[in-house]
Symmetry: D3
Subunit: 186 residues, 6 copies
Amino acid sequence: MQQKWIEKEFEYDGTQLASLHNYLQYGLAGDSIVSWIGPCDIAFDKMADGEDVLSQSAIRGGKMLHFILEKFDVRLYAAVALQRLIASLAFEILLKKSPQGLRRDGDDIFVGEKKLSISVAVPSYRSCLVHFAVNINNENTPVPTVSLEDLGVEPIQFAKDLMERVVSEDRSIVFATHKVHGVGDF
Amino acid sequence: MQQKWIEKEFEYDGTQLASLHNYLQYGLAGDSIVSWIGPCDIAFDKMADGEDVLSQSAIRGGKMLHFILEKFDVRLYAAVALQRLIASLAFEILLKKSPQGLRRDGDDIFVGEKKLSISVAVPSYRSCLVHFAVNINNENTPVPTVSLEDLGVEPIQFAKDLMERVVSEDRSIVFATHKVHGVGDF
Amino acid sequence: MQQKWIEKEFEYDGTQLASLHNYLQYGLAGDSIVSWIGPCDIAFDKMADGEDVLSQSAIRGGKMLHFILEKFDVRLYAAVALQRLIASLAFEILLKKSPQGLRRDGDDIFVGEKKLSISVAVPSYRSCLVHFAVNINNENTPVPTVSLEDLGVEPIQFAKDLMERVVSEDRSIVFATHKVHGVGDF
Amino acid sequence: MQQKWIEKEFEYDGTQLASLHNYLQYGLAGDSIVSWIGPCDIAFDKMADGEDVLSQSAIRGGKMLHFILEKFDVRLYAAVALQRLIASLAFEILLKKSPQGLRRDGDDIFVGEKKLSISVAVPSYRSCLVHFAVNINNENTPVPTVSLEDLGVEPIQFAKDLMERVVSEDRSIVFATHKVHGVGDF
Amino acid sequence: MQQKWIEKEFEYDGTQLASLHNYLQYGLAGDSIVSWIGPCDIAFDKMADGEDVLSQSAIRGGKMLHFILEKFDVRLYAAVALQRLIASLAFEILLKKSPQGLRRDGDDIFVGEKKLSISVAVPSYRSCLVHFAVNINNENTPVPTVSLEDLGVEPIQFAKDLMERVVSEDRSIVFATHKVHGVGDF
Amino acid sequence: MQQKWIEKEFEYDGTQLASLHNYLQYGLAGDSIVSWIGPCDIAFDKMADGEDVLSQSAIRGGKMLHFILEKFDVRLYAAVALQRLIASLAFEILLKKSPQGLRRDGDDIFVGEKKLSISVAVPSYRSCLVHFAVNINNENTPVPTVSLEDLGVEPIQFAKDLMERVVSEDRSIVFATHKVHGVGDF
């Protein structure tokens, strides 16, 4: 899995959640993760998560740290499990900084009842895509939120640390699939 | 995913890592997780992990808390990702008790450099199997270890808490695969 | 597999044959079957079956009993086999009422040469969808048809019986996949 | 799917439920179904169905009509659905002869409470295998049974009719997977 | 795999690279390959290969021999491997005519540095599609090319020979998947 | 895909055709190809190809150049297509040396009617395995053969060239699967 930090800031509007995005925009062919800073505002007709559509939840934030991951040749169950590992890894990094009240619940990270992150995992023809984003500040968020600023965490270093750990976790999962015997039935 | 705490103590010798084990022994058909207490001693010819075979590592412990999970219709990448979520969930539970020096690394939990757990995920025809176990004490372990006793954690309650959270995480992953749109190419 | 009888009558126009339809309209996440009464009229550009497009067959009926089933994580061969089991189950229910001349042929039920039902099974990203519908009366049908009214069958009870049997058949198929050993090569 | 009637009588003992059986014994490469007459006696350690092992059910019959089907590149859900279609097709053929009390329940056919058939579907590496068998007489059966002799049905013609219909159903399912559009999300 | 030579000449503009094309246009259900003569001109928004989009490469030719192959139930790795076998087979046929400087490189055939062919393999819901085309002359090609006219090869006979060999190779690959045992782990 | 030339000579007896062989013997985890020189003698009960079993063909050679390739997460159709590309690549390398009468037919290379190579591709739980071997001399071969010695080809350089091209072809196939859009239905 390749990784890339993108210097340029731009809004996440849901169109980045597309197969080949990381290849066509940044030349990363195959499994990859990219990260950048920008606002978030997703129109209802671009929402991939039917639960958000049903609940009519706005998804936005004034300044967020975004990640788009593409993983080829996995089905959605695996991609959602990977998405939760990303949340776990983010949680583990943040624990060292600011453990008070921090918790992971599914694909989300909270401090107490305040939400730090948003995420979705979706299938495409050949791959699954994950969007994971954490608030850098709390501007314009539609629900009670907490931000990296609140936690005293510098976003760019956090982004690079998280990408590094995601890439490493993926490499180690792949290795784990290449070294075990199959087992028979009882 | 069904769960079951098994009262009877018995040794884990590697033969429990088999498809249909939880069905044929405990009547749990389909995805399931069971847990019990017992020693651990795996003969070299029962080791599923080639890395252990190559490194000639003994795998044993005098008293461990064992989990066998069977998940149908996933490929090994997903099962390994799930295995690591199990380690994350165990880590999150133990954090509340005894955070000092606790860390997850892949499918293992450590306190400092001492190993708390062992784990392997393997494929069968129709399913993948995960064995996850944590030391209850440090008797007869072949490497420097730490145990639930060291951490002051009662094993049966821990087993039930972990199974509860694994079942809940799996349910929520499955739900996440049933509520999202697919996305097109860019 | 969840089931739901929908009281409201509305036309089936082909747009209901879509992934997540049963979730977004009726809150049923995962495998599900719903049924309702309404006319049927499918525009050519909404026809999913290329054979109908090639033969320029109109697909319509004045009053039909509709079923939309979504089954996740199966490929189309399995979904078509399931579609035919639905036809078989409908056939078995109707046999008790009105056996004379009743027969199943693939995904269709006939009485003599008159067609009682229409059906199609299609793939989406994550699931397959089945539309199955039987004539409640013979109004506006483009070919010689027979209807539940002709057979003296009350549609709502029939819908509920059929959904019950489909759900039960699916549950029993799933169980059958969770209790058998794999076999070796000869 | 190729079909073959085997003149020679021999016992079904469970070893025939193996990938490539029809190829290595009868030269039928790929999807195939064969049928023959013989007794049935399956040792416990050859039973593929864990439910039989758990219930300690004997599986035997003095004279049965056997079918072994191999279908490549399908998963077990599809194979079990196909197995039930075989039971449906057998049921439909027998209806014309002897409708009184005849019913299909899952993969079994009954007349009243007497069992006419046995069946199992199992996975191998590359294919799934189905064994389906109907009693020709009631000798040596461990449960209350009914037989083709009781129904006045000649076994060889029945075997050929059923194989013909199974091959035709499979062909028509495959065609149904080659002529439909995929559908989008709602 | 069915094959068909199409007498009518028409332009390849990228819209032919679609699932069910060979069925809806020529009645070939299932795996198939068709071939025809026509110009080639693909608008940028119809280009399936992101590499062409990134490099802003024009894809066109005044007179080319086109092939569209659809293979169901394979994933893209297999379809690309098959695409390269098509290039190999074309190479092997042309070797007999005009061996000087001929070489295959991935999915392309060259004579020296001049390109004879273009190709792409893409996934759809249920199948993969391959477009393979060779220049009949060098009119309007955007890069240095060589053509069947240069090699003294008659296109219609070449098309029929190549389709024959592709169909035969596919049949033999399928047979090879139906006659081998699976192997265990070491 | 990793590659390794093995200096030590040893017999190929069929047991090397096993998942994880290249990992457990040479430390190559994941997709890999290894090559070595040795005799070949496969006992009937180790033959993976049912066709050889049916025809009672001996498979042996006094001195052969062996290749074992393991490719994870592909189905057998893809592995057989890859096997034929290996034969194509070997053919293309040999063409430069000794074009007279050389031809590829499926997974075999011939000079006239004399066989240069043997090959089989088989599935395991998680991967497919390919054995490909060419005669270094014609000692002890059970059919009319030709050898690298006859063609004046030095085996070690040929082995390294072929592994290099196989690795390169695989890399380029994988890249081709990471850069294309999926296509819709017509």
